[in-house]
Amino acid sequence: MTTLRAIAFARSGDKGSSANIAIFGRTPAAYAWIRAHLTADRVEAYFRPLGVGTVVRYDVPNLEALNFVLPVILAGGGSCSLRIDAQGKTLGQALLEMPVALPPELVPTP
């Protein structure tokens, strides 16, 4: 199965108990696909096991990016959370693992 990793790069970070994940298309065509298919609902469903609140998506076309804000996903964050990743450092990598059905012309040839 192809994952988002094939066409995107990402960066995540924390803000209190919330986190953000920015995801960037590696090409204009990749960005167009991500923008059309990676909805806030889809990201929220993917991270539901972590107890995320209502995900908000911001489009940043000048950076070929989407920025997702994920409320309360860090279970307290900072000093309060008991989790190994209290600061959302791993969320970008996790989103890049999302399985996606890409049109063949978007999948880079190895």
Partner: protein
């Protein structure tokens, strides 16, 4: 074209590379200003606890070592000035320590300025009804007695004023991280507080600088393929009079400054990219254009700004009991099942013995536990090894202390293949809750003085 203002960063957080400042200035002595960031969201509460035991511990003492390391550079004629939030809870004490170091080295002519006024604990304690949690809307009243610190993210005004008065080193407490860069830019170019677009542009440069090596490929998606990733350079922003800037790094350092590294850092820890709130301007990233204008050189233009919000964001902290984490490695057949049973067993035995925890957690690292099992590649049953991590939190210290003594016994009473217990009992850690809220601008009395 006049020479741009060169502002670098040599510390992205408290605990960053202690030799970064001296190495950066050895590689690029023409940097005008060096910024060093030491304060994360709950750093001040850690300082508050340390200060209760040792009155001299209210600031980031690591910075004094940095000053010491730069003395040869300054004695050889280096003029780079410094702006840092190392002052933490006690910028005055930090300033005095820096001044003493400089005097010992024969540099008593260097001017050390201290910026204060960010401490709003007394106001917050007197106005708990006006300090609802910015994230959750929750009321502060039930926690009022447990407050430890409350500091406003103040802006660049006082930094700029101190620099214009000739300060060589400016030491602040809590300020908005990008203001460490906006201050020197305003002082150098003489921008008024209402030059919103230029201040927004400098805020973006400051945002890119504030996490140190992260602008140069540190923490990036494609880190593994970066050149010199054993020694990634710290960033330098070359800011022009119109606020546009080129992000770069000293020649010969590792990592890379590329469209990708800058895009990733631009959106790091950002909410709404059209409304990035700082005390110096409300910034929009939506018009920013990036161009790779040379190797390891990315130009940013097109930032726009509006007036800053009427209130200051405050980072308050409160005591929230205690916690501890214990770790053991489990190797062998059904490693994850064994680790889960062993971890759950520790909690069960302590609970049966009367310990009360408000929260417990058993994680099996290697299974994708960092993200609660999202994005697993390998079924848990196929793993031959996992690191068992057990955590507890409680309102009182005693049950947590008992937990710290319950990990090692698994070496003999747990499954075959338990190992990796070499670092002694886990530590009991105080927990600090983070409480973001807003205060009116009028309650913050920013002050600066040259010592």
């Amino acid at each position: 074209m006049p020479r741009p203002l060169k502002i670098a960063n040599a510390s992205g957080f408290w605990g960053d590379q202690p030799d970064a400042a001296a190495r950066l200035l050895a590689a690029q002595p023409d940097v005008d200003y060096l910024t060093l960031d030491y304060l994360a969201e709950v750093s001040l509460s850690i300082m508050a606890i340390a200060q209760a035991k040792d009155p001299a511990a209210g600031y980031a003492r690591d910075f004094i070592e940095v000053v010491r390391s730069l003395i040869p550079f300054w004695k050889q004629g280096g003029r780079t000035r410094i702006v840092t939030n190392a002052g933490g809870l006690d910028p005055q004490a930090c300033g005095r320590a820096v001044r003493d170091e400089l005097a010992k080295a024969g540099l008593a002519d260097r001017k050390v300025a201290v910026v204060s006024g960010d401490d709003v604990l007394a106001w917050v304690q007197a106005h708990v009804g006006e300090c609802a949690n910015l994230e959750t809307g929750a009321a502060l009243e039930p926690l009022a007695a447990k407050l430890v610190t409350a500091n406003a993210y103040v802006g660049a005004d006082a930094i700029a004023a101190a620099l214009q008065a000739g300060a060589d080193i400016v030491i602040t407490g809590r300020v908005a991280d990008p203001s460490l860069t906006v201050g020197p830019a305003r002082a150098h170019f003489g921008w008024d507080a209402d030059a919103h677009d230029r201040i927004a542009a400098a805020t973006i440069a400051g945002h890119l600088l504030e996490c140190g090596t992260q602008a140069c490929g540190g923490f990036s998606t494609d880190w593994l393929s970066l050149p010199g990733n054993h020694d990634i350079g710290f960033p330098v922003a070359e800011i022009a009079a119109d606020g546009s800037c080129v992000m770069t790094k000293p020649t010969g350092t590792g990592g890379a400054v590329t469209l990708q590294s800058i895009k990733e850092q631009l959106l790091y820890e950002i909410g709404d990219p059209g409304n990035y709130l700082s005390p110096d301007a409300t910034v929009s990233l939506l018009g920013v254009k990036l161009a790779q204008v040379g190797p390891d050189r990315v130009q940013l233009t097109g930032a726009t700004g509006r007036p800053p919000p009427d209130s200051y964001k405050v980072s308050a902290t409160y005591r929230h009991g205690f916690k501890a984490h214990g770790m053991l490695t489990v190797y062998g057949d059904q490693a994850v099942a064994k680790a889960r049973r062993a971890g759950g067993g520790v909690i069960r035995r302590l609970t049966e013995a009367g310990c009360r925890y408000r929260e417990t957690l058993v994680e099996c690292l290697g299974t994708g536990a960092s993200v609660g099992g999202v994005g697993q590649r390998v079924p848990e049953g196929d793993l031959i090894e996992t690191v068992l991590r057990i955590s507890v939190a409680a309102d009182t210290e005693e049950p947590v202390r008992r937990f710290t003594r319950a990990i090692a016994p698994l070496v003999t009473s747990g499954p075959q293949g338990v190992t990796g217990y070499a670092s002694g009992r886990p530590k009991v850690l105080p927990v600090f809750g983070y409480w973001p809220c807003l205060v009116p601008r009028t309650v913050v009395n920013r002050q600066w003085a040259i010592l």
